[in-house]
């Protein structure tokens, strides 16, 4: 194999494809496969949950392939001085020689023949969505993914498509987030699949603030995302996702409309003192058009503030976990947040006043025992 590629392209590709090679996954990673063919270099890694492959343009003089251990390539290329990197594997040898500027580095590899093939996607349905739209959807939902191994299905995100609409849902029982977006995909079949949380976070990392289309293909057991030159193929989680709409209340007793920034700032002031016990707790008290935010701890002190707010309905005195409520408020990306309360111990619903219909989140309060 002989090829030349841009150093920055190579850093990006080795980094992106190397993401599955973390020690956190329980499988033994097979390494990073490097393939040179038809004017491009292709870097691939696979673990038991997902495969990431990243293609970059390259001047290929002689095709070939090699598997390199772990993150070696990314580490090596990042330290090269030149703009371009020459890659070479001598016939019959398993050493990759990298040259850039005056430097030369030989990396010991393994033959690529034993490398697992990427799973075939029996594409049942295909949709596409602009990067920035998907990014906004994930930003508003991924925070609600559960990390509780006892309910594995909730560690994934529900992706459901019905003609014209893509909906993402994440829930951990303390909070729920649901976001819908219009997606124009003529003839795509409806689907309802659960994508592992880790895959969701990987996709989120790749997305930029642009209008490039992300291609999404659903198979029986896998989902495929193509974000520009990077492809992620992930296993789907098995099992039935809960019907979160069942938990969406219909009657409320109190409504509060407030600027997200103002409430987040108040919560952060509360967090300064609320450090006792298991849960950092804040108390919201709504009465006669005024909101009182307060927190206290025996050890650190107390916080109190009161401001006039836009509210309707009954008086409400309710406690929240500061972090959980904060995530709900931060998830509003446009306009004010409207919080609708069902009672002191019941769910509270958050929506944006600008887009009240495409997004809602739910947060459960805290109870003193």
């Amino acid at each position: 194999m002989r090829a030349t590629a841009n150093r920055d392209d190579l850093i990006f590709a080795a980094g992106a494809a190397g993401r599955t090679l973390t020690s956190k996954t329980s499988s033994t990673p097979q390494g990073l496969r490097l393939t040179a063919e038809d004017g491009s270099l292709c870097l691939t890694s696979i673990d038991n949950e997902m495969a990431i492959t990243c293609r970059i343009p390259a001047q290929v003089i002689e095709p070939g392939a090699l598997v390199l251990p772990s993150k070696l390539l990314a580490e090596a290329v990042r330290r090269f001085p030149g703009l371009d990197v020459d890659l070479e594997i001598l016939e019959g040898r398993y050493t990759l020689t990298l040259r850039s500027g005056f430097s030369e580095l030989d990396l010991l590899g393994m033959p690529a023949t034993n490398f697992s093939e990427l799973p075939e996607i029996d594409s049942l349905s295909t949709i596409s969505i602009p990067e920035q739209a998907l990014r906004s959807m994930l930003r508003q939902t991924s925070f609600a993914l559960s990390s509780d191994d006892m309910r594995p299905i909730l560690t994934g995100m529900l992706w459901s498509y019905s003609p014209g609409k893509l909906r993402l849902v994440a829930a951990d029982g303390f909070k729920v987030a649901s976001r819908t977006e219009n997606v124009d995909a003529a003839g795509a079949q409806p689907f309802r699949v659960v994508v592992p949380g880790r895959t969701v976070h990987e996709i989120e990392r790749l997305l930029g603030d642009n209008d490039n289309m992300v291609e999404i293909a659903i198979g029986r057991n896998h989902i495929l995302f193509q974000v520009q030159d990077t492809v992620i193929i992930s296993r789907l989680l098995e099992g039935n996702y809960i019907d979160v709409d069942r938990f969406l209340p219909t009657t409320f007793v109190t409504y509060l409309t407030v600027k997200p920034k103002a409430l987040i700032d108040a919560l952060e002031r509360s967090a300064v003192v609320a450090k006792d016990g298991l849960i950092a707790t804040v108390r919201l008290h709504l009465r006669d058009g005024r909101l009182v935010v307060r927190a206290q701890s025996a050890e650190y002190g107390k916080h109190f503030e009161e401001w006039p707010v836009e509210m309707r309905g009954e008086e409400m005195d309710i406690l929240f976990n500061i972090r959980v409520l904060g995530e709900i408020v931060k998830s509003i990306d446009e306009g004010d947040i409207e919080l609708s309360f069902t009672g002191q111990h019941g769910p509270c619903i958050g929506r944006s006043t600008t887009h009240p219909d495409n997004y809602w989140s739910l947060v459960m309060p805290v109870r003193l025992s």
Binding site: G277, I279, N321, V366
Partner: protein, 409 residues
């Protein structure tokens, strides 16, 4: 805060209430119970007195001697020796399994006695503790007087014998308590410390195990005195960073403070099966009883944990630990059990199991008992009520008075 002259604590009168770094010479007491477990057995069962008692298990069991009475030591029985070997040396010995709960109760009473003389109390193990009495001497008299009082109280209130060492630091205090066992009280003075410890073998130095000892002996260093006469730089070259500490200890210098026990980091229990078992149901049943013990300890200490760890040792001694994080902190038996069983089922490979253990970490005090409500789980009130009732029964009738039906003893 207003400070009256009258209410000022006595120990401040002499103006020696300075920071430990600048303070006057320290005085540390080290207390070590004599043949603790065996002595407790002889205390509770008078028929065992004067006989060689070996605590650890039956002679045909595997396992080791945890303690033996002085009568048994005459036959060459030692702690950590295998039970079979102990039986070979002392067939007339009385082998008992030991009663951990009873020993712990007495240990707590012992610490209560010691705590009366200084708040700076550091338990080292179940039968051993350090007490810093530097500031207490104004209240209770000179350190040797305090030590003698403690020794007498342990004898009269607990009916047990202990050995004490009084010295300017922890290392010397521990050395001293070991010099005249049983029932000894040895005082090592600052000025004579160096000479007093010089004839002792090098193993007496903290951190010198068989390997280091061997290495030192090969260089002709047999006693602590030999090390005192060594060039510290040479010692450091031979033993690395360790060498410097070694030299300082050999000279009787040790400035580690007596630290009250650190906050509990984890709470765990483990069980070694009498017969290795590959039967999943049997392992699960043991797991439940372990989870219940962990839950009980957490509730007693008013702690909740978030990470459950399972320890699994197969017959060939390969040992695995696996852990998982829960969604919320808990002190409930079944939350711990559920997570532990899931870990077990995910990792159990069918080989016979020798030992199994469960522990909880990422602990947090109860504080203000705020509960994050969840959409899916019913509030844990019922489980909490059950735990409260079971705890109350155990308080009244003993730890073994109630358990889950699934637990087979």
């Amino acid at each position: 805060m207003r400070r009256d002259k009258i209410s000022r604590p006595l120990c401040c009168e002499k103006q020696n209430f300075t920071s430990p770094l600048l303070s006057a010479p320290r005085v540390i007491i080290h207390l070590d119970m004599d043949a603790f477990f065996a002595a407790v057995e002889q205390l509770d069962f008078p028929e065992l007195r004067g006989k060689p008692v070996i605590v650890g298990g039956a002679p045909n069991e595997r396992g080791v001697v945890s303690t033996c009475s002085y009568e048994a030591r005459k036959f060459g029985v030692r702690s950590a020796m295998s039970l079979t070997e102990a039986y070979r040396r002392c067939p007339q010995g009385i082998f008992v399994r030991g009663r951990g709960a009873r020993y712990r109760t007495i240990s707590e009473q012992l610490l209560d006695i010691m705590a009366a003389y200084s708040p700076l109390l550091e338990p080292v193990s179940i039968d051993e503790a350090f007490l810093d009495v530097t500031q207490s001497q104004n209240l209770f008299g000179e350190a040797p007087v305090i030590a003698r009082t403690i020794q007498a109280r342990v004898k009269s209130e607990l009916g047990l014998s202990c050995s004490l060492g009084v010295a300017p630091n922890k290392f010397l205090a521990k050395l001293a308590s070991d010099l005249k066992k049983p029932g000894g009280l040895v005082i090592i003075e600052r000025d004579t410390a160096r000479a007093t410890i010089a004839p002792l073998p090098i193993e007496r130095i903290w951190g010198v195990g068989p390997k280091t000892a061997e290495q030192l002996r090969r260089q002709g260093l047999m006693t602590i005195g030999d090390i005192q006469n060594c060039d510290p730089a040479l010692l450091a070259r031979r033993l690395g960073v360790h060498g410097h500490d070694l030299y300082r200890l050999a000279c009787g210098e040790d400035d580690r403070p007596v630290a009250n026990r650190e906050d509990t980091k984890s709470v765990g229990h483990e069980h070694t099966f009498d017969i290795d078992t590959a039967e999943l149901e049997a392992v699960k049943s043991t797991l439940l009883s372990l989870a219940a013990k962990v839950g009980r300890r957490l509730r007693k200490k008013k702690l909740r944990g978030k990470v459950v760890q399972l320890k699994l040792r197969y017959l060939d001694f390969t040992t695995y630990t696996r852990q998982c994080a829960l969604n919320a902190h808990t002190d409930l038996d079944h939350d711990i059990y559920r997570a532990a069983v899931k870990l077990l089922c995910d990792h159990f490979d069918g080989r016979p199991v020798r030992l199994i253990g469960v522990s909880m970490s990422q602990l947090c005090g109860l504080g203000e008992a705020a509960a994050q409500l969840s959409l899916f789980d019913a509030p844990p009130e019922k489980a909490q009520k059950l735990a409260r009732v079971m705890d109350a029964i155990k308080e009244k009738h003993g730890e073994k008075s109630i358990t889950y039906a699934k637990v087979k003893e």
